[in-house]
Protein backbone atom coordinates (compact mmCIF):
# COMPACT_ATOMS: atom_id res chain seq x y z
CA UNK A 1 0.00 0.00 0.00
CA UNK A 2 1.29 3.45 -0.82
CA UNK A 3 0.22 6.96 -0.02
CA UNK A 4 0.10 9.77 -2.48
CA UNK A 5 -0.71 13.44 -2.43
CA UNK A 6 -3.01 14.74 -5.13
CA UNK A 7 -1.79 18.11 -6.33
CA UNK A 8 -4.47 20.76 -6.48
CA UNK A 9 -3.19 22.64 -9.50
CA UNK A 10 -3.78 26.37 -9.17
CA UNK A 11 -5.73 27.73 -12.11
CA UNK A 12 -4.31 30.92 -13.50
CA UNK A 13 -6.94 31.40 -16.23
CA UNK A 14 -9.18 34.39 -15.73
CA UNK A 15 -12.40 32.42 -15.36
CA UNK A 16 -11.80 29.38 -13.15
CA UNK A 17 -15.14 27.85 -14.15
CA UNK A 18 -13.68 27.45 -17.65
CA UNK A 19 -10.65 25.42 -16.56
CA UNK A 20 -10.27 21.86 -17.88
CA UNK A 21 -8.21 20.72 -14.88
CA UNK A 22 -11.09 19.83 -12.51
CA UNK A 23 -12.23 17.25 -15.06
CA UNK A 24 -8.79 15.60 -15.37
CA UNK A 25 -7.09 13.51 -12.68
CA UNK A 26 -4.40 15.52 -10.88
CA UNK A 27 -0.71 14.58 -10.88
CA UNK A 28 0.21 12.75 -7.65
CA UNK A 29 3.21 13.40 -5.44
CA UNK A 30 5.09 10.93 -3.28
CA UNK A 31 4.92 11.58 0.49
CA UNK A 32 8.47 12.99 0.65
CA UNK A 33 7.97 15.45 -2.23
CA UNK A 34 7.22 19.14 -1.89
CA UNK A 35 3.92 20.35 -3.29
CA UNK A 36 5.14 23.96 -3.10
CA UNK A 37 8.06 23.11 -5.38
CA UNK A 38 5.73 21.40 -7.85
CA UNK A 39 3.39 24.40 -7.88
CA UNK A 40 6.19 26.92 -8.28
CA UNK A 41 7.47 25.00 -11.32
CA UNK A 42 4.01 25.12 -12.87
CA UNK A 43 3.55 28.81 -12.11
CA UNK A 44 6.91 29.68 -13.65
CA UNK A 45 5.97 27.80 -16.83
CA UNK A 46 2.59 29.53 -17.00
CA UNK A 47 4.10 32.95 -16.35
CA UNK A 48 5.95 32.67 -19.66
CA UNK A 49 2.65 32.50 -21.54
CA UNK A 50 0.54 35.50 -22.41
CA UNK A 51 -3.05 34.91 -21.24
CA UNK A 52 -3.10 31.11 -21.74
CA UNK A 53 -6.35 29.40 -22.76
CA UNK A 54 -7.78 26.60 -20.55
CA UNK A 55 -6.50 23.95 -23.00
CA UNK A 56 -3.00 25.42 -22.91
CA UNK A 57 -3.08 25.44 -19.08
CA UNK A 58 -4.08 21.75 -19.13
CA UNK A 59 -1.19 20.95 -21.51
CA UNK A 60 1.32 22.97 -19.48
CA UNK A 61 0.24 21.08 -16.37
CA UNK A 62 1.08 17.80 -18.15
CA UNK A 63 4.42 19.27 -19.21
CA UNK A 64 5.23 20.21 -15.62
CA UNK A 65 4.45 16.65 -14.55
CA UNK A 66 6.91 15.34 -17.16
CA UNK A 67 9.64 17.61 -15.75
CA UNK A 68 8.82 16.23 -12.29
CA UNK A 69 9.16 12.66 -13.59
CA UNK A 70 12.58 13.52 -15.06
CA UNK A 71 13.66 14.69 -11.59
CA UNK A 72 12.38 11.47 -9.98
CA UNK A 73 14.09 9.22 -12.53
CA UNK A 74 17.38 11.14 -12.22
CA UNK A 75 17.36 10.51 -8.46
CA UNK A 76 16.58 6.84 -9.18
CA UNK A 77 19.75 6.49 -11.28
CA UNK A 78 21.88 7.34 -8.24
CA UNK A 79 19.74 5.11 -6.01
CA UNK A 80 20.24 2.19 -8.40
CA UNK A 81 23.97 2.65 -8.10
CA UNK A 82 23.74 2.69 -4.29
CA UNK A 83 21.57 -0.44 -4.36
CA UNK A 84 24.15 -2.28 -6.49
CA UNK A 85 27.00 -1.07 -4.27
CA UNK A 86 25.21 -2.41 -1.16
CA UNK A 87 24.62 -5.74 -2.89
CA UNK A 88 28.30 -6.06 -3.82
CA UNK A 89 29.40 -5.13 -0.31
CA UNK A 90 27.02 -7.72 1.12
CA UNK A 91 28.47 -10.37 -1.18
CA UNK A 92 32.01 -9.30 -0.32
CA UNK A 93 31.37 -9.50 3.44
CA UNK A 94 33.00 -12.63 4.86
CA UNK A 95 30.39 -13.14 7.57
CA UNK A 96 26.71 -13.55 6.97
CA UNK A 97 24.99 -10.70 8.75
CA UNK A 98 21.69 -11.70 10.33
CA UNK A 99 20.43 -8.13 9.90
CA UNK A 100 20.84 -8.65 6.17
CA UNK A 101 21.39 -6.32 3.28
CA UNK A 102 19.09 -3.55 4.51
CA UNK A 103 21.32 -2.51 7.44
CA UNK A 104 24.27 -2.35 5.06
CA UNK A 105 22.24 -0.29 2.54
CA UNK A 106 21.30 2.28 5.19
CA UNK A 107 24.89 2.43 6.46
CA UNK A 108 26.22 2.88 2.93
CA UNK A 109 23.65 5.61 2.18
CA UNK A 110 24.79 7.52 5.29
CA UNK A 111 28.45 6.84 4.50
CA UNK A 112 28.13 8.27 0.99
CA UNK A 113 26.20 11.30 2.28
CA UNK A 114 28.91 11.83 4.90
CA UNK A 115 26.50 11.48 7.83
CA UNK A 116 27.43 7.95 8.94
CA UNK A 117 27.79 7.12 12.66
CA UNK A 118 31.02 5.60 13.91
CA UNK A 119 29.65 2.03 13.83
CA UNK A 120 28.13 2.51 10.37
CA UNK A 121 31.44 3.79 8.98
CA UNK A 122 33.24 0.86 10.64
CA UNK A 123 30.78 -1.60 9.08
CA UNK A 124 31.34 -0.19 5.58
CA UNK A 125 35.10 -0.03 5.96
CA UNK A 126 35.18 -3.61 7.26
CA UNK A 127 33.08 -4.81 4.30
CA UNK A 128 35.37 -2.93 1.90
CA UNK A 129 38.43 -4.51 3.49
CA UNK A 130 36.83 -7.97 3.37
CA UNK A 131 36.16 -7.57 -0.33
CA UNK A 132 39.58 -6.01 -0.96
CA UNK A 133 37.87 -3.00 -2.54
CA UNK A 134 38.12 0.78 -2.53
CA UNK A 135 35.04 2.98 -2.73
CA UNK A 136 35.76 3.95 -6.34
CA UNK A 137 36.31 0.27 -7.31
CA UNK A 138 33.00 -0.53 -5.73
CA UNK A 139 31.28 2.26 -7.63
CA UNK A 140 32.70 1.07 -10.96
CA UNK A 141 31.65 -2.52 -10.33
CA UNK A 142 28.22 -1.40 -9.17
CA UNK A 143 27.78 0.64 -12.34
CA UNK A 144 28.55 -2.45 -14.39
CA UNK A 145 26.07 -4.52 -12.37
CA UNK A 146 23.30 -1.94 -12.50
CA UNK A 147 23.87 -0.98 -16.16
CA UNK A 148 20.73 -2.79 -17.32
CA UNK A 149 18.49 -0.87 -14.92
CA UNK A 150 20.29 2.44 -15.46
CA UNK A 151 19.61 2.01 -19.19
CA UNK A 152 15.93 1.47 -18.37
CA UNK A 153 15.82 4.68 -16.35
CA UNK A 154 17.58 6.50 -19.20
CA UNK A 155 14.83 5.23 -21.52
CA UNK A 156 12.22 6.56 -19.10
CA UNK A 157 13.89 9.98 -19.02
CA UNK A 158 14.15 10.00 -22.81
CA UNK A 159 10.43 9.18 -23.04
CA UNK A 160 9.60 12.17 -20.83
CA UNK A 161 11.71 14.42 -23.09
CA UNK A 162 9.82 13.15 -26.13
CA UNK A 163 6.50 13.75 -24.37
CA UNK A 164 7.57 17.32 -23.57
CA UNK A 165 8.34 17.89 -27.25
CA UNK A 166 4.87 16.64 -28.21
CA UNK A 167 3.26 18.94 -25.65
CA UNK A 168 5.33 21.93 -26.77
CA UNK A 169 4.29 21.36 -30.38
CA UNK A 170 0.65 21.14 -29.32
CA UNK A 171 0.91 24.39 -27.33
CA UNK A 172 2.64 26.09 -30.29
CA UNK A 173 -0.09 24.95 -32.65
CA UNK A 174 -2.81 26.39 -30.37
CA UNK A 175 -0.83 29.63 -30.05
CA UNK A 176 -0.33 29.82 -33.82
CA UNK A 177 -4.02 29.20 -34.41
CA UNK A 178 -5.09 31.99 -32.06
CA UNK A 179 -2.56 34.39 -33.63
CA UNK A 180 -3.85 33.47 -37.09
CA UNK A 181 -7.44 34.16 -36.07
CA UNK A 182 -6.43 37.52 -34.54
CA UNK A 183 -4.54 38.47 -37.70
CA UNK A 184 -7.47 37.51 -39.92
CA UNK A 185 -9.82 39.53 -37.71
CA UNK A 186 -7.55 42.56 -38.05
CA UNK A 187 -7.27 42.12 -41.84
CA UNK A 188 -11.04 41.80 -42.09
CA UNK A 189 -11.53 44.92 -40.00
CA UNK A 190 -9.04 46.79 -42.21
CA UNK A 191 -10.82 45.63 -45.38
CA UNK A 192 -14.19 46.65 -43.95
CA UNK A 193 -12.94 50.10 -43.01
CA UNK A 194 -11.37 50.49 -46.48
CA UNK A 195 -14.63 49.43 -48.05
CA UNK A 196 -16.65 51.86 -45.98
CA UNK A 197 -14.29 54.73 -46.90
CA UNK A 198 -14.61 53.77 -50.58
CA UNK A 199 -18.37 53.70 -50.20
CA UNK A 200 -18.38 57.19 -48.70
CA UNK A 201 -16.13 58.47 -51.49
CA UNK A 202 -18.26 56.93 -54.24
CA UNK A 203 -21.36 58.49 -52.70
CA UNK A 204 -19.58 61.85 -52.66
CA UNK A 205 -18.62 61.46 -56.38
CA UNK A 206 -22.24 61.10 -57.47
CA UNK A 207 -23.48 64.18 -59.32
CA UNK A 208 -26.25 65.95 -57.46
Amino acid sequence: MHFSIDVDVAMPVEDKSKSLLPFLSSPKLLPNESEAEFQSGLQSLLSQLDNPSPLVVALVSQLNECLWWIKRHTVDKELLLHEAMARLLFKAGSNWMPSGNSKLSVALEHYLDGIAHKDEAALIEQALTDGNLTLSDLRVRAFKDAAKYIKMVDDLIHRQHQTIRHLQRSIDSIDYKSRLIKRMDLELAALESKQSVKGVLSLDDKPS
Partner: protein, 174 residues
Protein backbone atom coordinates in the same frame (compact mmCIF):
# COMPACT_ATOMS: atom_id res chain seq x y z
CA UNK B 1 10.39 -41.76 -19.32
CA UNK B 2 7.01 -42.13 -21.03
CA UNK B 3 3.76 -41.74 -19.15
CA UNK B 4 1.77 -44.93 -19.07
CA UNK B 5 -1.71 -45.05 -20.60
CA UNK B 6 -3.23 -45.58 -17.18
CA UNK B 7 -1.40 -42.56 -15.77
CA UNK B 8 -2.46 -40.42 -18.71
CA UNK B 9 -6.13 -41.38 -18.21
CA UNK B 10 -5.87 -40.65 -14.51
CA UNK B 11 -4.45 -37.21 -15.29
CA UNK B 12 -7.31 -36.48 -17.68
CA UNK B 13 -9.92 -37.58 -15.13
CA UNK B 14 -8.34 -35.44 -12.47
CA UNK B 15 -8.23 -32.49 -14.83
CA UNK B 16 -11.98 -32.83 -15.33
CA UNK B 17 -12.44 -32.66 -11.58
CA UNK B 18 -10.23 -29.57 -11.31
CA UNK B 19 -11.86 -26.79 -9.43
CA UNK B 20 -12.13 -23.30 -10.77
CA UNK B 21 -14.64 -20.53 -10.56
CA UNK B 22 -18.14 -21.79 -11.39
CA UNK B 23 -20.42 -18.90 -10.52
CA UNK B 24 -20.66 -15.86 -12.77
CA UNK B 25 -19.32 -13.65 -9.98
CA UNK B 26 -16.38 -16.03 -9.40
CA UNK B 27 -15.52 -16.06 -13.08
CA UNK B 28 -15.79 -12.27 -13.16
CA UNK B 29 -13.42 -11.99 -10.20
CA UNK B 30 -10.88 -14.48 -11.51
CA UNK B 31 -10.88 -12.79 -14.92
CA UNK B 32 -9.17 -9.87 -13.17
CA UNK B 33 -6.47 -12.03 -11.52
CA UNK B 34 -3.71 -11.16 -13.93
CA UNK B 35 -4.80 -7.54 -14.37
CA UNK B 36 -1.81 -5.26 -13.82
CA UNK B 37 -2.50 -1.71 -14.98
CA UNK B 38 -5.67 -2.09 -17.08
CA UNK B 39 -4.25 -0.06 -19.97
CA UNK B 40 -4.99 -2.77 -22.52
CA UNK B 41 -8.75 -2.55 -21.97
CA UNK B 42 -10.72 -0.22 -24.21
CA UNK B 43 -11.85 2.80 -22.19
CA UNK B 44 -15.35 4.22 -22.51
CA UNK B 45 -14.78 7.96 -22.16
CA UNK B 46 -17.79 9.05 -24.19
CA UNK B 47 -20.31 8.09 -21.52
CA UNK B 48 -18.50 9.93 -18.70
CA UNK B 49 -19.60 13.33 -17.45
CA UNK B 50 -15.96 14.56 -17.49
CA UNK B 51 -15.75 13.88 -21.21
CA UNK B 52 -18.89 15.89 -21.96
CA UNK B 53 -17.71 18.79 -19.78
CA UNK B 54 -14.30 18.77 -21.50
CA UNK B 55 -15.88 18.73 -24.98
CA UNK B 56 -18.05 21.74 -24.09
CA UNK B 57 -15.11 23.70 -22.66
CA UNK B 58 -12.78 22.93 -25.57
CA UNK B 59 -15.51 23.91 -28.03
CA UNK B 60 -15.38 27.43 -26.55
CA UNK B 61 -11.81 27.72 -27.88
CA UNK B 62 -13.06 27.55 -31.46
CA UNK B 63 -12.36 23.90 -32.32
CA UNK B 64 -14.81 21.90 -34.43
CA UNK B 65 -17.05 19.35 -32.66
CA UNK B 66 -15.06 16.45 -34.14
CA UNK B 67 -11.71 17.86 -32.96
CA UNK B 68 -13.13 18.70 -29.49
CA UNK B 69 -14.19 15.07 -29.05
CA UNK B 70 -10.74 13.88 -30.11
CA UNK B 71 -8.90 16.26 -27.78
CA UNK B 72 -11.14 15.40 -24.79
CA UNK B 73 -10.67 11.66 -25.33
CA UNK B 74 -6.92 12.20 -25.85
CA UNK B 75 -6.59 14.15 -22.59
CA UNK B 76 -8.57 11.59 -20.56
CA UNK B 77 -6.59 8.73 -22.10
CA UNK B 78 -3.26 10.44 -21.38
CA UNK B 79 -4.29 11.00 -17.74
CA UNK B 80 -5.31 7.34 -17.47
CA UNK B 81 -1.84 6.29 -18.64
CA UNK B 82 -0.06 8.71 -16.29
CA UNK B 83 -2.15 7.53 -13.32
CA UNK B 84 -1.18 3.91 -14.08
CA UNK B 85 2.46 5.06 -14.50
CA UNK B 86 2.40 6.64 -11.05
CA UNK B 87 0.68 3.63 -9.42
CA UNK B 88 3.21 1.23 -10.96
CA UNK B 89 6.11 3.40 -9.83
CA UNK B 90 4.78 3.96 -6.32
CA UNK B 91 3.92 0.34 -5.52
CA UNK B 92 6.59 -2.03 -6.84
CA UNK B 93 6.62 -5.71 -5.94
CA UNK B 94 8.00 -5.88 -2.36
CA UNK B 95 11.45 -7.37 -1.77
CA UNK B 96 11.52 -10.58 0.28
CA UNK B 97 14.57 -9.61 2.32
CA UNK B 98 14.63 -12.82 4.33
CA UNK B 99 14.78 -15.02 1.24
CA UNK B 100 17.21 -12.71 -0.56
CA UNK B 101 19.70 -12.52 2.32
CA UNK B 102 19.33 -16.05 3.68
CA UNK B 103 22.45 -18.22 3.80
CA UNK B 104 21.28 -21.40 2.06
CA UNK B 105 24.30 -23.52 3.05
CA UNK B 106 23.69 -22.72 6.70
CA UNK B 107 20.01 -23.59 6.29
CA UNK B 108 20.53 -27.28 5.43
CA UNK B 109 20.31 -28.45 9.09
CA UNK B 110 17.02 -26.55 9.39
CA UNK B 111 15.62 -28.32 6.33
CA UNK B 112 16.73 -31.71 7.75
CA UNK B 113 15.05 -30.95 11.04
CA UNK B 114 11.87 -29.86 9.27
CA UNK B 115 11.71 -32.98 7.13
CA UNK B 116 12.92 -35.59 9.67
CA UNK B 117 9.52 -36.20 11.37
CA UNK B 118 8.12 -37.40 8.05
CA UNK B 119 11.02 -39.89 7.76
CA UNK B 120 12.43 -38.29 4.63
CA UNK B 121 15.62 -39.26 2.83
CA UNK B 122 18.71 -37.01 2.48
CA UNK B 123 17.69 -36.57 -1.17
CA UNK B 124 14.49 -34.81 -0.02
CA UNK B 125 16.58 -32.36 2.01
CA UNK B 126 18.77 -31.68 -1.02
CA UNK B 127 15.66 -31.16 -3.19
CA UNK B 128 14.21 -28.73 -0.69
CA UNK B 129 17.50 -26.81 -0.47
CA UNK B 130 17.70 -26.69 -4.27
CA UNK B 131 14.13 -25.40 -4.47
CA UNK B 132 14.83 -22.59 -2.00
CA UNK B 133 18.10 -21.77 -3.74
CA UNK B 134 16.29 -21.35 -7.06
CA UNK B 135 13.70 -19.11 -5.38
CA UNK B 136 16.52 -17.06 -3.90
CA UNK B 137 18.17 -16.69 -7.32
CA UNK B 138 14.87 -15.45 -8.77
CA UNK B 139 14.43 -12.98 -5.92
CA UNK B 140 17.99 -11.66 -6.32
CA UNK B 141 17.63 -11.38 -10.10
CA UNK B 142 14.72 -8.98 -9.64
CA UNK B 143 17.01 -6.61 -7.74
CA UNK B 144 16.07 -4.11 -5.06
CA UNK B 145 13.08 -1.83 -4.77
CA UNK B 146 14.43 0.83 -7.17
CA UNK B 147 15.35 -1.79 -9.80
CA UNK B 148 11.87 -3.29 -9.54
CA UNK B 149 10.03 -0.02 -9.88
CA UNK B 150 12.27 1.01 -12.79
CA UNK B 151 11.67 -2.20 -14.73
CA UNK B 152 7.91 -2.16 -13.95
CA UNK B 153 7.56 1.46 -15.09
CA UNK B 154 9.67 0.75 -18.16
CA UNK B 155 6.92 -1.58 -19.39
CA UNK B 156 4.53 1.38 -19.61
CA UNK B 157 6.67 3.44 -22.00
CA UNK B 158 4.72 2.37 -25.07
CA UNK B 159 1.41 3.34 -23.48
CA UNK B 160 2.72 6.82 -22.71
CA UNK B 161 4.11 7.14 -26.25
CA UNK B 162 0.77 6.18 -27.79
CA UNK B 163 -1.19 8.35 -25.35
CA UNK B 164 0.77 11.54 -26.02
CA UNK B 165 0.86 10.91 -29.79
CA UNK B 166 -2.94 10.62 -29.81
CA UNK B 167 -3.38 13.82 -27.79
CA UNK B 168 -0.84 15.79 -29.79
CA UNK B 169 -2.35 14.67 -33.12
CA UNK B 170 -5.83 15.69 -31.95
CA UNK B 171 -4.67 19.17 -30.88
CA UNK B 172 -2.65 19.83 -34.03
CA UNK B 173 -5.35 18.69 -36.45
CA UNK B 174 -7.56 21.43 -35.02
Amino acid sequence: MTISHHRSLTNQCNALKSTGPRSVAGKQASSQNSRKHGLNSAPDFESSSEYRALVDLIAEEGFSAFVCADIAAGLLNYRRVMDAYYDTYASPEPVDEFLRDANMKASNPIFSELLSPSGSEPQDVRDMAAFFASMQRQERRKGGLVSRRSSDTHKLIRYQRNGIARLSRAVRQG
